[in-house]
């Protein structure tokens, strides 16, 4: 599924659909619980890690040690303009990125500028390193900041990063909603690549293959940082989508979990729930950067056989009555029967 305008609805006449600013991509889930660091580093690095324990700043955020330092550092900068200058300074120090790594799978979705991100895993130390580049100085600086914070960390540490550091550090004040959104997407891609690499390494796959694993896009389930056993690689996504509704609730995404659970009553053969909230941040009616307000559900179920589109949507609305009355501000629905999908493929 494309992250921008729904390609499934190719109209007979050319239709000027709204730009991708309203149809966003997977938003980052905010881990609200601190996750244990899996200590799998060789002895020397482990000793160093023990000496420099994971840093939590005043707000008790889960961050890598380096990111914690950077957050505190930015917090201490008195002036929004100075924070901005610091970012531009970081941009200069970003190591160059080879052109061949600038592939679609490495492009940060939903970003105002063009940002590329590539990751590799050191199989012995089980740490991730990234290279990045952007055509705009500000986003380059943000990428450089992020990379400083995550380079050399384990997939688990990276997956656990609480995006609240963006506001905690005072950076979000210096960024427009669009830039904030882009930064969140950058972090999401950083995390999903780390998780994919970690899972692939665990599965014994080659490091190179893992690096080229597609990033989580609008169609695949969002990268679950909470110890996801299955990689977010595309091949696993299809299987995961079916298994999703049998997994226990994810405490870091209660609304998404509730949606999955309740729509499970339809016994769907496919159910994909995407949180598009981040792309709506900053527009009238959005609920800030907390997410879990704008969703898209794609459901394939026999239950829809013979039902008109309106009836199918009403069935879904009825199942999600509580959520519609509560946190859900907007719900995009794609409801197809098994027979319809079969005839389309």
């Amino acid at each position: 599924m494309a992250p921008s305008a729904p390609t499934a609805f190719a109209a007979p006449l050319s239709l000027p659909l709204p730009s991708s600013s309203f149809h966003g991509t997977t938003c980052v889930r905010r881990p609200r619980t601190r996750l244990p660091v899996v200590a799998r580093r060789p002895a020397a690095a482990a000793a160093a890690a023990a000496a420099a324990p994971r840093m939590a700043d005043d707000a008790g955020l889960a961050l890598t040690p380096e990111l914690g330092k950077l957050t505190s550092m930015f917090k201490a900068v008195p002036d929004a303009k100075l924070r901005y200058q610091q970012l531009l300074f970081f941009a200069k120090e970003l190591a160059p990125m080879p052109d061949e790594l600038k592939t679609p799978a490495n492009k940060v979705p939903g970003c105002l500028s063009t940002v590329y991100l590539s990751a590799t895993l050191d199989p012995e130390a089980r740490t991730v390193s990234y290279v990045a580049d952007s055509d705009a100085q500000l986003t380059k600086g943000l990428a450089a900041l992020l990379l400083r914070g995550v380079n050399g960390c384990t997939p688990e540490e990276i997956a656990a990063i609480d995006p609240a550091f963006i506001s905690e550090s005072g950076l979000s004040v210096s960024l427009t909603p669009g830039r904030n959104n882009g930064f969140l997407n950058m972090l999401a891609l950083v995390k999903s690549k780390a998780v994919a690499l970690g899972a692939a390494a665990d599965a014994g796959a080659a490091t190179v293959a893992a690096r080229d694993a597609p990033a989580a896009d609008g169609g695949a389930p969002p990268a679950n940082g909470a110890g996801a056993a299955s990689a977010s690689a595309a091949s696993a996504a299809a299987a995961a989508a079916v298994e999703e509704d049998e997994e226990p609730d994810d405490p870091t995404a209660p609304v998404a979990s509730a949606i999955r659970r309740k729509l499970g009553a339809l016994r769907p053969s496919s159910l994909v729930v995407t949180d598009n909230s981040a792309s709506h941040a900053g527009h009238a009616g959005a609920r800030g950067l907390n997410g879990e307000s704008h969703f898209k559900v794609s459901v394939v179920a026999d239950a829809f056989d013979g039902l008109s589109a309106v009836k199918r949507h009403q069935v879904i609305y009825a199942l999600l009555k509580d959520e519609m009355a509560g946190p859900i501000h907007a719900l995009e629905i794609e409801a197809r029967s098994v027979a319809e999908v079969a005839s389309q493929t």
Binding site: F22, A284, H313
Partner: protein
């Protein structure tokens, strides 16, 4: 919903054959989904009436009860509720929406 508001909705649906309850208006939609709805209707090159639910909190709540539909936008053709943006897109793609409109204009 109170009878006064229901009467107003009934009246709107009686006065105009094609009514879109949306956020914002034709020239300035205030939401991506409302924008999608107006873009589709504009492509059909027909006359249609829009009501900005952001202007009236009463209607905003009542229209959701009226159609048993929790979201905006909402399209009505000949007083009948057709659906929201997703459904409009589907119907447009299959040509059904054009057919419905043509049938309406023929009467």
């Amino acid at each position: 919903m109170d009878t006064e508001t229901k009467k107003r909705i009934d009246q709107l649906l009686n006065d105009h054959k094609i009514v879109l309850f949306m956020k914002g208006n034709k020239t300035m939609p205030m939401c991506g989904f409302s924008n999608t709805a107006t873009q589709i209707l504009n492509t059909l090159n027909i006359k249609y009436f829009t009501y900005d639910i952001l202007e009236d909190e009463n209607i905003r709540k009542a229209i959701k009860e009226y159609s048993s539909w929790p979201t905006i936008p909402q399209l009505y053709i000949n007083r009948e509720f057709i659906g929201g943006a997703d459904i409009m897109l589907e119907l447009f793609e299959t040509g059904e929406l054009q057919a419905q409109v043509e049938a309406l204009l023929a009467t």
